[in-house]
Assembly symmetry: D2
Homo-oligomer: 311 residues x 4
């Protein structure tokens, strides 16, 4: 297996920064790809061991290109997640002053996070979209634009300096969630603070259908972190559901919930069980009374004894 | 183990008739007991192999003395059920005419089923309660009363004749359900048309508590045949629930429902899985889509493959 | 309207004691009847303003004769409930010593509550059933039996004395709940701690049917105090459900729950809304967030504004 | 009120075609805007009577820019929806042959729908993204590219001809759903086949929270057509839910469901009730038994009679 990770490039974006927070990234070759699709295709083709791509952010929600790639095609599996707080720096060529800036550039997704800052500090600057924030920085380096919104870390790479850092419009810092995706294999062992991702297709569409699917989680006290509908391709109004649920497929309550879904859904795609990035083991809320592994084991033992007439 | 069955006596009642419909009764000594409690105590004490007692009828509902005995004390288990249609004959000494009858007797429970008939045909007769219908017949034989309501089969035993048969007030024939109760052992194999009986005690009392218990059956497509609340002894308003559900504890959907109940209830008492008397194997409604044993097996296999990374 | 209350006699039983705890009883003539049915028929026939009968006790559960009378026939309504703690006195003719007692008598229902006491203190005494505890006391007065279990208050009426008082086998004192039943009229105003009684008949029998009925209460945060199944008369396994729920039909959450039941049930019979005897106004648990009257009113106002385009 | 409709421009796109299918569009001035946001702002500012924008398509799902605009800011309301089947024509300057084509252009969203066609028929052509399909056609007209994918209707406007029509990769024709959005006012009367749109914010996040919200629809037999989660801005994992449900806010079952949601949600935003574009009145599935307006009225009447003691 090639010791390389594909990631959504170019170099110098938030994705690369997030990837480098993973200890295992230090021992792999990290290869930028031009799109989520091409990075994941590299994994499917065996050219890369895994791919690192954004899947959700606090401003845009689920990232549909990534979800759609995971929903369809050859099955892949999520092994890790990383949360990264996104704040922007305003990068300029050394010596540029705020009053010199006539044009600013960044990826369009940045716009929603710096709009108010721009209105206040650079109301007359023209916005020019770039293919990525890193690309905007490069274009500033080349003199095409005056300033770029990008991660502060990009300054060094492009010989720029940060006129301002920590720019973000929302009261909460924006966060992006990235996942490390590989070919299916045995999930890592549960840590006590895990997340399980699945895609569900309903068997038929009737009042209460989705409520009943969610009931498989709810009756076992399993909280949901993400519910994102995606078109099935069978026409408008036909959706499947990408769901992130707390717990690990090795947890009995999660395993039984997945069994229930498998029985009542048209199809279920398992996307992996992996450690949560938002809480550490020991910090996760314990299972609701009646849903711990110990209680599942005790209940199964009791039923076995009843089946045997020993009680 | 003694080759005897205890039953609620005396001889010559509907209980004995029902018991004799069981093939295995032909090879046992059948011993009448004066009460449900004493018959079940004989089983608990090892004096009888099993006890045959009424548990439900279409006029009175669940028979609380039987249910309370099964709910409390040393655990017992139900192995068989028998349904018997109850219609009464009016038994008299040979030669008695309808116009001769001044007093009629029967067990008080018979009264609700012959009241209208009496009002029409013997409006002036006095009612005298007896300890059992068989006892009433005996008292007619002895000349104490003029007529008894009892099963037609009792006529021969007491040298009486039936002036009228098939007496029942309700449009539907009344039915009584009897059960054969023994000490816990491995239940008989599933027949495809089985019933499972349990007693449930709620962990705490809150809005939706009972709804959630019933949900363990409902989400697995399991129909209920009986839900009878019984006091727990912890004061007024504190109830446990005697439940008859379709299916056998060896059916996976039933086993998983019982596991769920075991986890969320304060206590569950298993009262047995046994063939249904109301439908024959092959006539029972098949499990709802998604709840057959084959689907449970397939879903468990799928989860196991996911846990292993092979899918 | 006749200023009289019918009650389940004879005089001197716990029923009369319970009835006399109602202030309004002081201004009515109190007339004993030989059965629950005859007392309720007196109300239906207009011979009595109301009838006072037991409906539930902590040992026997729902009292089926009373429930069956309320379930069927001309509709009646519950206006009040009374809770009475039941402990027995051992009544004897003056001068009788414990060692003199060879026979004891009481209503059969008392047996379950004095059995252990008898076993310990009078293991050799013979039990003789009486039609009521008051009747047992009368028979002791007449010299037929040596002792009667009855309410201590019965001693004076029958010229007996209490050898022992406060007899009750269960750790909790047994309680009986009585109701005052009249012809339908506007229920008393809500007190803040009320109870609503209904009878529900399912439209059809399917997995989840009863769960869905209970869901009408559960989703509105309404706790249940009693769920008692009673046969419908349509054959074994066919039940309706007598339910006591917290709250008053004037409470919006209760009214909406009843509307929901009315829509999905084959039939609903309203049995009344009346003050709870177990808690006083101010002590009842407040409605769960989202189900108070104020929240119902606010939500209805909001929908009305939306229907109007003003929001 | 200005007699003009804003729409997502430029002229000559599918949006304009869809808008012109509305009879009322014939009597309004139709003004293209550069973005969904600017079109909706024109309505909010009173510059336009309504705005016509895409909200969902069968390939991309919910269109998040439109949903986010409706979720936040000054409330708006949906009055109409239009469904348009999207198939592409390959537009070229007159005389161009397939073998002449070296470059093709279209809006990036078109790519997912013509990818396979391109691979088969023009495997060597270079793809150049344009700001809109209409813009791509203009650039072909100006000679910058050789061919554009656009609606067939755009050929005439730009002096081009269609080398091929009806291009769509998916077996089902892609469809886009557009809505006409205005300031809040009384919704149009129900037609018998209507849709209601709302946004829900959960009061708190707990296992079963979303299931309970959906239960307000499910228990009243209301089917859902869209469930799209959108970030609330309170950080990753915090979502509100855009829901399209069948029925009209004047339908009692819908009104009661909305009341229920209003009570248990942190916030509910009503986005309008309007005629469905996918089925005509008379074709919509009738309400499930127990949820028709007539049954709601009957149930409310019954509760009122019970409250009054007349039943």
């Amino acid at each position: 297996m090639p010791a390389s990770y594909a990631y959504l490039g170019p170099e110098g974006t938030f994705t690369e920064i997030a990837l480098r927070t993973l200890p295992e990234a230090a021992t792999r070759e990290l290869i930028p790809y031009v799109s989520v699709q091409s990075a994941l295709d590299a994994v499917r083709a065996g050219e890369a061991e895994a791919a690192f791509v954004p899947i959700e952010n606090s401003v845009e929600g689920g990232i549909t290109t990534t979800l759609d790639e995971l929903v369809a095609g050859t099955p892949l599996m999520i092994y890790r997640e990383v949360l990264l707080s996104i704040t922007f720096a305003l990068l300029v060529r050394p010596g540029t002053k705020l009053s010199d800036i006539k044009t600013v550039s960044a990826h369009p997704a940045a716009q929603s996070q710096v709009r108010n800052w721009l209105r206040t500090h650079l109301p007359d600057a023209d916005w020019e979209s770039a293919a990525s924030n890193a690309d905007a920085a490069r274009l500033v380096q080349e003199g095409r634009y005056d300033a770029a919104f990008a991660g502060e870390f990009a300054a060094a790479r492009y010989g720029l300096e940060a006129l301002e850092t920590g720019i973000h419009d929302f009261p909460e810092t924006a966060q992006t969630r990235f996942v490390l995706v590989g070919r299916p294999a045995r999930p890592a062992a549960p840590t006590g603070a895990d997340k399980t991702s699945v895609v569900l297709w309903q068997r038929d569409d009737h009042p209460g259908g989705l409520r009943d699917l969610l009931g498989e989680f709810a009756t076992r006290g399993i909280n949901l972190m993400l519910l994102q509908s995606r078109p099935t391709g069978a026409g408008i109004g036909n959706y499947c559901f990408c769901i992130d649920a707390e717990g690990h497929i090795s947890d009995r309550r999660v395993a039984e919930a997945l069994m229930g879904l498998k029985r009542i859904c048209l199809e279920v795609r398992f996307l992996g069980s992996y450690p949560r990035a938002d809480v550490r083991p020991g910090e996760a809320e314990p299972p609701r009374p009646g849903t711990s592994d110990a209680e599942f084991v005790a209940a199964a033992d009791w039923v076995a004894r009843c089946q045997d007439g020993r009680f």
